[in-house]
Structures are given as C-alpha cells and as structure tokens.
C-alpha cells in the first residue's frame, strides 16, 4: 500500500512542476501576429506525469540509498554482475566468444546503416579508451580531447590531398601526430590541476578548431576537404557497401589492438603510476614518481588513439570540416568515459556503444531524442554515479610466502 504521506508528497511535486513548466509549456506567444496560444493540455500531462514519476524516482533513490547503506555497514559488497562476469573465467570466456562471433558476423547480418553507425561507435570506443588513459587512469580532466581527433582526421585528409599518401601509411602517422600534439598540450598544463586543467584543455580544443576554421590556405576552412579516399584493399578500390564492411573490420581490429595495448598499459608500472597520480598527486610524487613525465605520457598515449581515430573518421566519412570537432564531441567522449566507469576498459566500451548508438536508435523518437538523451545522462549518473562498470582492480594471488604468482 502506498502511504498517504507519499501521495501528498507526490501531489506537491506535481503541483511544483506544473508551476515550473507553466510559462514555457503552456503559453506560446507569437510576437508577430500578437496571438497567445494557451496549451492547457500540456499542464495536465505535466501534472499527471510528474505525479507518477515522483513515485518511481523516490523508490529508486531509496533502493540506491539502501545499497549504499549496506555497503557501508556490511563491508562485504557483492560484486556487481559486470564485475562478476569479468572475474569469473567460466562466464567471461563464453561471453567473449559470443561477442566476438557477433562482431564478426555483424555486417552480414545487419544493414549498411547498422554497420555504418557501428563503425562510428567503434571509433568512439577507441576515443573513449584513449581518453580513459587521461581522465580515467591519470585523473586529468581533459575537455579538449577532440583536438587530437581533429589532428588525426586532418592529417589524413591533408597529407592525402597534397602528397597522395595512402591510408595505411597515414594511420600510424595520424597516431604519431596525435601523440606529438598531446605532448605539446601537456607541457604548458603540467602545473595546472582539476578544473583549471579542464578549462585550458577546452581552450586548446577550441584553438585547434578555430585554426582549422580560419586558416583557409592550410585547411580549406569551413568548407572542408571532400572526396577523401576510403582505405584500399590491396590496391583495389571498393564500392561503398564493400568498403564500409572493410572499414568495419579495420575498426574491429584497431579496437582489439587498442584494448590489448590499454590493458597492458593499465597493468604495467606506468599504468600504476597513472592511477597513483589520480589518487593523490602529492603522495605519488613522494613515492618517487616523476609527476611531469607521468602526466606527459598520459597525454601523449591518450592522444595517440585520438589521432588514429581521426584518420579512421576521415576515411569513413570521406569528408572533413571543422564542424565535426566542436566542444560537443569532447563532451560526448568524456561522457563515454564517466558513464562507462572511469578506468574500466569494458565500461568504456559499453559506454561508447550506448552513447553513440542510443541517439541513433532514439531517432525513432525523432525530435525528442536529444531530450531523452539528456534525461538518460542525468538518470544514469544519479542512480549509478560510478558508471556502468566501476573500476575493477586486478587481483593477485599468492601461493605460500614469497612465491608470487598472479592471475588477472
């Protein structure tokens, strides 16, 4: 039974929202015709909607609080489903196989459109994993990550345009240029912390975009570069359909490569240094870790993936202009990392798939899609602030004293 006090609370909520949304939802003014349109029906929707919704909201909040309390009191927290899947080989291996087969068959099962957006999603998986090094592992809030993405994309577009270099040469070049720019950005911001760092990186991203927009002689300005070739397959050029499939497989391979490298880095001496830097800068330094070097490697390695992602982007879209590299893209990549779970590779992959594919699938709701996307971000964060897969630390196992064996 729902208690009376609950109903009263919800009534207040619904009254409050009716008041709140009154001018924007109910009144529409046509300043030219001097007509006011009163849309009272909207008020009823809001009232009823918020009344019902407030029950759900409170219920979920209570659930969350209950979970937190249990965690605090019991100490023994049951690992979440995702964590258990990751830990238990018996579940993990078959799950991985299924995902692998699904990924391999994907372009033959689904339409060109599905493959195409999956490529976008995979590019963002790569970007997310790259940014994860900077934000998730090293704890450096970077709001200008898109700059490196742009560097990669323009590297391919311009070097191909001027020198006719092929995709396969420029893919590593894009990564290298990304890394170079990562170091370039890294130097001046070494001293900055937290949100000051965020704003400077934001500025860096904007500077790169503005240069691309304004320096016509270099970048062809806002009209961009078109007819960028798709990657060739042993010298053969492919039809749109085939080359989309081809790019899809390249992306799958690149993602596997990225995951492999990021995993190795994460579990290495350098990966630990990044995490230590994130956890406590002062203690990290006091433990003999070179802060500047660690930060720079994080920026550089993070940016490398963005550079390669940029090359893939240019190859996939066959057109680049500055409109693809706004602060909004940086924000989306950041959302991927945080929503997925900072520092967790699987989390970031899931985050990227959700954040890139969801708006596409929300197209069914046409104009409401960005509205729902916004709600989703808020709801996800309120009810799962640690992200979908919270950071899973590696477990080391020991047999007897001194003898150290390990297990992932």
């Amino acid at each position: 039974m729902i208690k009376f006090s609950e109903i009263k609370k919800s009534l207040w909520v619904s009254l409050w929202f009716m008041f709140l949304t009154f001018p924007v939802m109910v009144i529409r003014v046509n300043t030219i015709e001097n007509v006011i349109e009163w849309r009272w029906e909207n008020m009823i929707f809001i009232g009823v909607g918020s009344f019902l919704f407030s029950f759900v909201w409170r219920y979920l909040l209570k659930q969350k609080e209950y979970g937190l309390k249990r965690a605090e009191e019991g100490g023994d927290i049951r690992p979440s489903l995702a964590q258990r899947i990751l830990r238990d080989r018996k579940i993990f291996a078959p799950a991985l196989t299924v995902v692998g087969i699904f990924a391999l068959l994907f372009p033959y099962v689904f339409s060109l459109y599905q493959t195409n957006i999956m490529i976008s999603a995979l590019i963002f998986v790569m970007l997310g994993l790259g940014l994860n090094i900077v934000v998730g592992l090293a704890g450096l809030l970077d709001l200008g990550y898109v700059a490196f993405y742009a560097v990669g994309a323009y590297a391919y577009a311009l070097l191909n345009y001027h020198f006719g270099l092929s995709f396969w040469i420029l893919l590593p070049v894009g990564g290298a240029l990304g890394m170079l720019f990562g170091i370039l950005l890294g130097f001046p911001v070494l001293r900055l912390r937290g949100d000051y760092l965020a704003i400077v990186t934001l500025g860096f991203g904007e500077i790169i975009r503005l240069i691309l927009e304004n320096w016509n002689e270099f970048s062809f300005g806002p009209s961009g570069i078109s007819n960028i070739p798709r990657p060739s397959f042993f010298g053969m050029s492919l039809s749109v359909h085939d080359s989309t499939i081809f790019i899809y497989y390249i992306m799958i391979a690149l993602c596997i490569f990225t995951i492999f490298v990021v995993n190795r880095l994460q579990d290495s001496r350098i990966g630990r240094a990044w995490i230590a830097l994130r956890e406590d800068e002062v203690a990290c330094q006091a433990m003999g870790i070179d802060k500047a070097k660690t930060k720079l490697t994080a920026f550089a390695l993070g940016a490398t993936w963005a550079g390669m992602g940029g090359v893939m982007f240019a190859a996939k879209t066959t057109f680049v202009n500055p409109a693809s590299f706004t602060i909004w893209e940086s924000i989306i990549i950041l959302c991927i990392v945080v929503l997925g779970g900072m520092g967790s590779v699987v989390g970031v992959i899931i985050g990227a798939l959700i954040l890139i594919l969801l708006p596409e699938y929300l197209r069914a709701f046409s104009e409401y899609r960005m509205l729902m996307f916004g709600i989703l971000l808020v709801v996800m964060m309120v009810f799962r602030p640690g992200g979908i897969v919270s950071d899973v630390r590696r477990i080391y196992k020991f047999e007897g004293s001194g003898g150290a064996g390990k297990d992932a």
Binding site: W16, V24, Y196, L371, L377, M380, P385, G386
Partner: protein, 300 residues
C-alpha cells in the same frame, strides 16, 4: 585614441555581460566545486520566461515600465525555481559521488533544458523587445556607448556589490563560506548544508535571470541555444578570474571582454577566441589559480 576608448568600452560591456552569467558559475563552484553546465540554460530560461511574460502583458496593454518590472520579477522567480529544482534532481543525489559524475549529470541537465525549450517553444530566433529606453542624456555619447550598455554595466556592479556584501556580512554568507571550506565541519557546527547549497543555486539563478533579461533586451533576440555559448564563455571568465571568487568572476569577465575586444580591434576577429584562450592559458601558467584565486598550498 578614440578608437582605443571605443574598444575599451566595447570590451567593458561585453565583459559585464559575461560577468552577469559568470557570477552564478563562480558561486556554485565555490560551494560545491561543480561546473554547473546547466547554468547557461537557467539564463536562457530566464530570458524566455521574460519574453513570454512581456508578450502577454504587452497584449494586455500595460505600459513599458510596469512590464519591465513585472517581467524581470517573474523571470527571476522562475529562474530561481528552475535552479532550485535542477539542484534537487541532478546534483543533490550526487553529493557523495565522484565529481565527474556530477559534471556529466550537469551536462545531461543542460541538454535536457535546451531541448525542452526547443520543443515547447520554437527553434527560431525570437525578437526580444528593447526594454531599456534610450536615455536622452546619453544621446551625445550614443556613438560610443549605448544606454543599454550603461544599464548592464551598472547592474553588474550593483549585483557584484550586493553579492559581496551578502557573503561577507550576513549570517547566510557566513554559512556559505563555512560550507565552501569544509562541508562536514559546517554540518557539525549546525549549518544546514543542503539549505546553504539551495540558497546558492537560487542566488546564482537570480543573477542569471537578471542577466538573461538585460542581455536579451540588449542583443534583441533569443533562442534555445543562447545559454550554451554564453555559458562556456562565462565559465572561462570565471576561471580566468579565479573560480570561487566573486570579484574574480567580474574581473575575469572584464579581462576576457577586453582581450576579445582588443584582439578584434587591433588584430582580427577571425582569431578572437584563439586570443582569448591563449591569454587564458598564459594567465593560468603564471597564476595557476586565476587572477584573484587563492593559490592553494599543499596541505600535507
């Protein structure tokens, strides 16, 4: 020299526009260390509410001064209500969560509010009536600075002074300062931290609404997207001045306004924002906590 003066004044007005939005950013940041991305949207909603009220009242045939007062008042009320609600929904449950989670929640809120207004109203630019009359005594200077600009400048100053007084000398201000220093400690000494945070959001939203009405009336048009662009710039200004500091936000805004104005005037507006950001980077390199920010000492 005239040219310099004109650019100077241009930068000053632009700066005071940024300042009205930056104040809210800096207050919220000062208290809960959150980049309130939705702040720009609160400003936008303030402007929209004002526009709706103005249109309704104009059709009822009220006189301009009364309209200005009523519209401004209602816009402030509604912005405050929105600010309050946004905080309760999107930030309060995240008080103990990682800071970045709250940031993403704020981004989600910003996106939601933008599209809410887009869907409920329109995507088009709407003309916003000029509520600030052209004062006759300003006529001789009109080619340098307009009446609206003077009004904005004065309002910014008044708002800044009021906020400073409020924070320095009232009980609520003391509670705010205590909360920004140490939330747990503040709670221990009997400060209702949740209430303090709510009040901060309400105050920040109120300044945003005042900004919304004045700026919209100066610029002459609004749409659902104005909050985002202005918000980013205002945030840069707040950081430039030293985020968390009220005078810092105003000073940072002026510095940003001047940088942009002089860069445009003497170099080129092509790279206006590039100059602004390069300048920001330079300042932060030499003063890592902004112009008026306290350089935090390592507390070991």
């Amino acid at each position: 020299m005239d040219y310099f003066l004109e650019l100077f004044l241009g930068g000053l007005t632009r700066g005071s526009i940024y300042a009205l939005i930056a104040l809210g950013y800096t207050m919220v940041y000062g208290i809960i260390e959150l980049i309130n991305f939705a702040h720009g949207e609160i400003y936008m909603i303030g402007a929209f509410t004002a526009l709706i009220v103005i249109s309704v009242l104009t059709m009822m045939g009220m006189n301009t001064i009364a309209i200005l007062v009523i519209a401004g008042f209602i816009a402030v009320i509604y912005s405050c209500a929105y600010g309050y609600t946004v905080e309760k929904i999107a930030y309060k449950p995240l008080r103990r969560a990682p800071r970045l989670s709250a940031l993403i929640s704020a981004i989600g809120m910003s996106l939601f509010l933008q599209n809410y207004v887009l869907l409920a109203q329109t995507s088009d630019f709407l003309p916003f009536p000029n509520l600030i009359p052209d004062f006759t005594f300003m006529e001789p200077y009109a080619h340098i600075i307009s009446s609206a600009e003077v009004v904005i400048l004065i309002t910014t100053t008044i708002v800044m002074i009021l906020l400073t007084v409020l924070i320095k000398f009232t009980k609520m201000g003391k509670a705010m300062r205590a909360t920004s220093q140490d939330k747990d400690m503040a709670r221990l000494v009997g400060i209702d931290v949740d209430r303090v945070i709510s009040v901060t959001f309400v105050l920040g939203s109120a300044t945003a609404a005042i900004g919304g009405v004045l700026i919209a009336s100066h610029v002459g048009m609004i749409n659902f997207y104005i909050g985002f662009i202005a918000g980013i710039k205002a945030f840069v200004a707040a950081v430039l001045g030293g985020i968390g500091s009220i005078p810092g936000a105003v000073l940072g805004s002026f510095v940003l306004g001047w940088t942009e104005s002089f860069a445009t005037g003497y170099v080129s507006s092509d790279y206006e924002d590039v100059f602004a950001f390069v300048f920001l980077v330079l300042i932060l390199i030499f003063r890592p906590a902004g112009i008026l920010g306290r350089t935090e000492k390592h507390t070991v």
